[in-house]
């Protein structure tokens, strides 16, 4: 009989982190841990405290209370602790006139990669991010997706144990997003702990082993995405109704009366219902009766997006 695998020690442990800017308390005792080979998505609205938490993890600010340990040491007091950290900013944090290779060489040196090991490290980073075939192209000439991957390459050239990505796929198309996601999965496979700060709930749902919802400086929900969704919605299904765009106010009032809420996509309304497909059929009939014949009605499992809305509603309540 094989012994139970011993769980690896967490790479990142944050406990009770409190941080204020003047009178405003931005973090109110946040905790977070991350293990090798784990992807954690940190979610939350703007102003929830995500950036401050990331800065505390990076050692750029010291918490007023609580602790942050990165590879067992305080990153704000022990620079060596940050040697195992790679940060991928939301912007393309590269030198536009330099080639991919020149950029990664530069960041390898700045990350303290020894000169003798730099060429192999640079090549490995480009291989992992699939940028090797454009190694000598200036960054400014690359597509958005390639720039995103080069942005990641510059952060992993020193083989960090924790990689933090801030909105890694903002502004890129679906193909480019999938390519970035593939890179992130590969890194997880290599044992890298990945912390993604994102508003892209689809990406978080698809990639993350665990997600955390930060709201007003507190971690209000944390866990495995499917389990969280199941726990929050039980047997409820999401009914998506596609209508013609440009509804008048009366039409919107009718939809609201049926429990439907608008989504970000124009003409698409949603509601959670435990009645499943039967409920969808009844809703279709009712809307036709009201003169709001749907173009399409779909039924699907609730997603992180629904959970995100629920968390926001709880705040409003």
């Amino acid at each position: 009989m094989n012994p139970e695998p011993v769980p690896a020690a967490p790479i990142l442990v944050a406990e009770g982190v409190v941080r204020s800017y003047g009178d405003r308390r931005v973090l109110k005792g946040v905790g977070l841990s991350l293990h090798p080979g784990e992807i954690y998505a940190l979610l939350g609205h703007n102003g929830a405290g995500k950036t401050t938490l990331v800065r505390a993890i990076c050692g750029r600010l010291r918490p007023d209370a609580g602790t942050v340990l990165l590879n067992g040491a305080d990153p704000a007091r022990t620079p060596a602790a940050r040697a195992g950290l790679g940060l991928v900013p939301q912007e393309i944090a590269l030198y536009a006139n330099l080639s991919v290779r020149e950029n990664i060489e530069t960041f390898a040196t700045l990350a303290g990669v020894p000169r003798a090991k730099a060429p192999a490290a640079v090549r490995r980073a480009m291989e992992l991010t699939r940028t090797l075939d454009r190694a000598d192209a200036p960054v400014r000439t690359l597509s958005g997706g390639l720039q995103r991957r080069a942005n990641i390459a510059a952060a992993i050239v020193h083989e960090p144990t924790l990689l933090i990505l801030d909105e890694p796929t903002v502004g890129v198309d679906i193909d480019a997003r999938e390519a970035v996601d593939a890179v992130i999965r590969d890194l997880r496979g290599l044992g890298v702990a990945v912390l993604i700060v994102t508003h892209d709930l689809d990406q978080a749902g698809a990639l993350a082993d665990r997600v955390g919802f930060l709201r007003d400086g507190s971690m209000v929900l944390e866990g495995e995405p499917r389990a969280l969704v199941a726990e929050a919605f039980g047997d409820q299904m999401e009914i998506l109704v596609h209508l013609a765009e440009g509804l008048d106010m009366a039409g919107e009032i009718h939809l609201a009366a049926e429990g439907l809420e608008p989504t970000r996509r124009p003409g698409v309304w949603t509601r959670l219902d435990s009645g499943g497909y039967g409920a969808a059929g009844r809703l279709d009939a009712r809307l036709r009766q009201l003169g709001l014949a749907p173009r399409e009605i779909r039924v699907r499992q609730p997603s992180l997006a629904n959970l995100f809305s629920l968390v926001a509603e709880r705040k409003a309540a």
Binding site: C58, R60, P79, R82, Y95, N97, L98, T106, T109, G112
Partner: protein
């Protein structure tokens, strides 16, 4: 090689590659300074005195023998660019429109009592009027000495009393002889002595070589230092601050690059100054080198420090423009400091420009030794070091 030095050199490489691949910036950085230096030198070399040739409009209303000779002498003078005008109104019109620097109206025979000459001056070209006056007096003495003699006799006549017929006859004869065979003009009043080792025209060239050097060193350094803001905006600073080394080596690398950039700019300017105007930079290399390095250190440190104080690129751009223009104006990069009022000259010592210009002049023009320039080196290096320290300290600020 230590890790931090390697990191600083990596940043120097980045700055060099970014500049090399931006051809417009490359031209602005290395070709524009010598070009502007040549323009300034051409403009201001003449104002040193030897080559100043004001344009003068001459109207001879008297049309006497003596007035014609004076007008002709002025028109032939190599020290003027004189042209004839039909009347006083034309002279005034040309001066007012800026076609000429000054005007001369010969209202009466030069030998006649009173004031036969009228100088028409433009206050904005004040130096032209006294020059035109001096050249006219020279022309009178050289081309119409008989008229000058008669004016001299007339001026002393009240003291001598009435001349006897014999004396009057002798004066007439002397005047006729002078008219027939003019004698070279003798200036018995003044001797002239140039300062030891003085080279004609070089003072202004040495002045402007230094003035343009520090002007462009600071301008280019400010542009280079703006990359700090760009790195902040693009997240490069976030990436580096999350690493082991932080921004320290980055700032140091930029400082080294900007110092080296200023050095190359100085080489370009002084090569041109030596090749075209004979400024002896190479002969004074031992003192030129530390002066140039001190100027480069000062411009690099000052630029990094000032840009670090800003929170946005717009702020930095505005501060950069303000600093470059105001310091250059006060410090003497735009107009010679000796033309400034005393209080402005004193204020100029608060700018690196004045120190750099004075140090280069001391080294290249006055052949001064180290005693004349070491203070400038200390001041410039101290300003640069202070700026670097400010940049280093602020680059570590997590809130920025």
């Amino acid at each position: 090689m230590s890790g931090r030095l390697a990191m600083s050199l990596a940043m120097m490489r980045v700055m060099a590659l970014e500049l090399w691949r931006d051809r417009a910036a490359l031209v602005m950085t290395f070709l524009l300074p010598p070009l502007v230096f040549l323009i300034f030198s051409s403009v201001f070399a003449g104002t040193s005195g030897d080559n100043l040739q004001p344009k003068l409009a001459v109207a001879d209303l008297a049309r006497t023998d003596a007035s014609r000779r004076v007008a002709a002498a002025l028109l032939k003078s190599p020290e003027l660019r004189a042209e004839t005008a039909p009347d006083a109104a034309a002279v005034r019109s040309r001066v007012k429109s800026g076609q000429v620097d000054a005007g001369l109206v010969i209202r009466a025979d030069p030998a006649a009592p009173g004031k036969p000459f009228l100088i028409v001056a433009d206050p904005s070209r004040a130096v032209a009027a006294p020059l035109a006056q001096a050249r006219t007096q020279q022309a009178l003495a050289a081309a119409a000495p008989d008229a000058a003699l008669r004016r001299s006799i007339d001026s002393v006549a009240p003291a001598l009393g009435e001349l006897t017929p014999v004396q009057s006859a002798r004066i007439d004869a002397a005047a006729a002889q002078l008219r027939e065979k003019p004698q070279p003009v003798k200036d018995d009043l003044f001797d002239r002595e140039d300062i030891a080792g003085a080279r004609k025209g070089g003072a202004v060239i040495a002045y402007y070589a230094g003035a343009v050097m520090i002007l462009f060193a600071l301008f280019s350094a400010m542009q280079g230092a703006l990359s700090l803001m760009e790195e902040r905006r693009a997240g490069v600073a976030d990436r580096l601050l999350a690493g082991v080394a932080g921004m320290g080596p980055v700032v140091t690398g930029k400082f080294l690059f900007l110092t080296a950039q200023a050095f190359v700019q100085a080489v370009m300017i002084f090569v041109v100054a030596q090749a075209i105007y004979g400024v002896e930079a190479l002969q004074h290399f031992v003192l030129w080198l530390p002066t140039t390095l001190a100027a480069g250190v000062c411009s690099a440190g000052l630029a990094l420090g000032l840009v670090s104080l800003c929170r946005t690129r717009d702020q930095a751009q505005m501060l950069s423009t303000f600093v470059i223009l105001v310091l250059a104006a006060i410090g003497g990069s735009m107009a010679p400091r000796f033309l400034m009022p005393a209080w402005l000259q004193s204020l100029g010592w608060l700018t690196p420009h004045a120190w750099v210009i004075d140090a280069y002049q001391a080294v290249l023009w006055r052949d001064a030794g180290i005693a004349a320039v070491y203070k400038a080196w200390i001041v410039l290096a101290a300003v640069g070091a202070a700026g670097l320290l400010v940049a280093q300290a602020l680059s570590r600020d997590p809130q920025r």
